[in-house]
Amino acid sequence: MKRWTALVPTFYIVFLLLPIYWLLNMSFKTTNEILGGFSLYPHEFTFANYMTIFNDPTWYMGYVNSLSYVVINTALSVTVALPAAYAFSRYRFLGDKHLFFWLLSNRMAPPAVFALPFFQLYSAVGLFDTPIAVALAHTLFNIPLAVWILEGFMSGVPKELDETAYVDGHSFWSFFLKIFLPTIAAGIGVACFFCFMFSWVELLLAKTLTAVDAKPIAATMTRTASTSGYELGLLAAAGSLTLIPGAVVIYFVRNYIAKGFALGRV
């Protein structure tokens, strides 16, 4: 009986990991082997797919582009959200609750709604096909998210901490930068993670606002039913590489995510 109960989570985990295994499996096969028949592991083990990606600029620039707009976006969103979240957590002002809810409602509109206005706007101001265009577009839903998350963490810090710092003689900025930000470091980590993740997986705006120079990796991947037929091995290798940044970022914030959930803000 006992052995049966252990099988349930095992089965579940295997079920979850199967597609990832299959992706990795394919990435080390040649396209011929993939199309040739069913095999549980690569019979002709090859790094050729990965070598192609690392040597062909049309491939690796996809990663560079994606990472650059994601990093710009994360830095921008969190920097802008910090003072906003502080205001929401510490001050009462006219319409503060409505404004806070309105921020969140920005996340309720599908990105497709904004694709056209953004496309036209960025074309007009000459930002089209730059990482900055995508980074700015993604702040539309990442700033509200970051404000929402950070406000939760900031409200967990008693306002008496602010007062104590002022009583000790700290100016507002000295308090905010030297005492307050380190105190909510976990919250900043969680906010960064979510901004990073949403920007990394978002495809529609990223694809609409770029053409050649700033093409994100996900767009490159959808393109490659190329002249030489289906390069399935190459696509699988690209997919495997795409998983890495998310995994790295979540490793750093893994302990704080739970805290974010506990605050009910994630």
Partner: protein, 354 residues
């Protein structure tokens, strides 16, 4: 040198948090703000510190008007009920924080922090973070930070309320010693009358944003100026009743007649409100002038050395507090003895008559 509040008031929107208040606190004095939760203790302290600016009136310190001066420039210290420390700083850096901002040299900082840490028995913990310490040690750190700079005003906002019983007693004994020999004005807010009596000094009683009386603690306790002050400064709550004085007797509702005690003899006949402190009603006969009051026992709270008995007489609840253990069955009839000489008499406006 004193801290003076002159006609200070604080309004937030339509709510008055602090009504017109005038107070003068002398250097080297220990001042207690006594009042229940939301009485305005914290609001008043924020005005004294300069964390909040008053809506009207002025604050004077050492003869200078400091009404608009921000808290950073006031040279005050504050300790809160919650243990407020900088979580990302070590205990040493927490205590050193006000000195660093003031720009003291490293050797001066080391010496001052060392001294105050020794005083508060924090020396072994200096390298640790506040969240690795016990509650008592965390609050000691906060007190150390308040003491390390030579501030003119030290504000303590219920600093012992979140500590467990043992630590509270321990720190309560230490506190007056820490301030002895300083010429700082110490202000200590508490909800507990017992704590005010233990510390002595001066007491200001607060009720709904108003300072009802300010003076030496024993005097405020013994001669409360009005009924509100008497209520604030009594735990368990003071017993009150509407009475009529008729010659050598006072008549309570239900035609209970007590002999007029020492306090009642000089006053004119008529209607009064009396206040009887719970420990002046005891469940055993005392020598001297006394009056009996029979009632049905509602609740008995027996602590180690004390009995608090709530009883009912003619639909009115009375509280008795006495030394020793006096167990009564709930619902039983018991006779209590009232020390009539200690009854307080208040007039129609609640003012103390005698």
């Amino acid at each position: 040198m004193a801290l003076k509040l002159e006609h200070v008031a604080k309004r937030v929107g339509a709510d008055a948090h602090i009504h017109d208040t005038t107070l003068s606190l002398e250097p080297g004095s220990f001042n207690i703000l006594l009042g229940s939760t939301l009485a305005g203790k914290t609001s008043l302290m924020q005005l004294m510190a300069g964390i909040q600016a008053p809506s009207s009136g002025s604050v004077w310190f050492k003869g200078k008007n400091v009404t608009g001066v921000p808290v950073q420039k006031r040279n005050v210290s504050m300790v809160y009920q919650q243990f407020i420390n900088y979580p990302n700083y070590s205990v040493f850096d927490n205590i050193a924080s006000p000195l660093r901002v003031a720009g003291l040299s490293k050797s001066e900082i080391d010496a001052k922090v060392g001294r105050v840490a020794e005083l508060l028995r924090l020396t072994p913990m200096l390298r640790r973070r506040p969240n690795e310490l016990s509650g008592g040690q965390q609050q000691r750190t906060a007190i150390a930070r308040a003491l390390v700079k030579d501030s003119g005003v030290i504000l303590l906002d219920e600093p012992l309320a979140n500590l467990d019983y043992k630590l509270r007693e321990e720190l309560r004994d230490e506190l007056p010693k820490l301030f002895a020999g300083r010429d700082a004005i110490v202000v200590y807010a508490t909800t507990e009358p017992v704590e005010a009596l233990l510390f002595g000094g001066n007491t200001a009683t607060l009720h709904e944003g108003r300072v009802t009386q300010f003076g030496p603690t024993p005097e405020v306790y013994r001669r409360p100026m009005d009924l509100v002050t008497a209520r604030v400064f009594s735990d368990p709550p003071i017993n009150t009743a509407e009475i009529v004085k008729e010659g050598s007797e006072i008549v309570l509702p239900g035609d209970i007649r007590w002999p007029a005690g020492a306090a009642a003899r000089p006053i004119a006949d008529g209607k009064y409100t009396i206040g009887v402190r719970p420990h002046h009603i005891v469940p055993f006969a005392q020598h001297g002038a006394g009056a009996a009051l029979e009632g049905r026992v509602l609740v008995t709270e027996l602590s180690g050395s004390e009995s608090i008995i709530h009883f009912n007489r003619d639909g009115k609840t009375w509280v008795s507090q006495s030394h020793g253990i006096h167990p009564f069955d709930v619902g039983s009839l018991a006779t209590f003895h009232v020390d009539v000489d200690r009854i307080l008499f208040f007039g129609g406006q609640g003012e103390l008559i005698s």
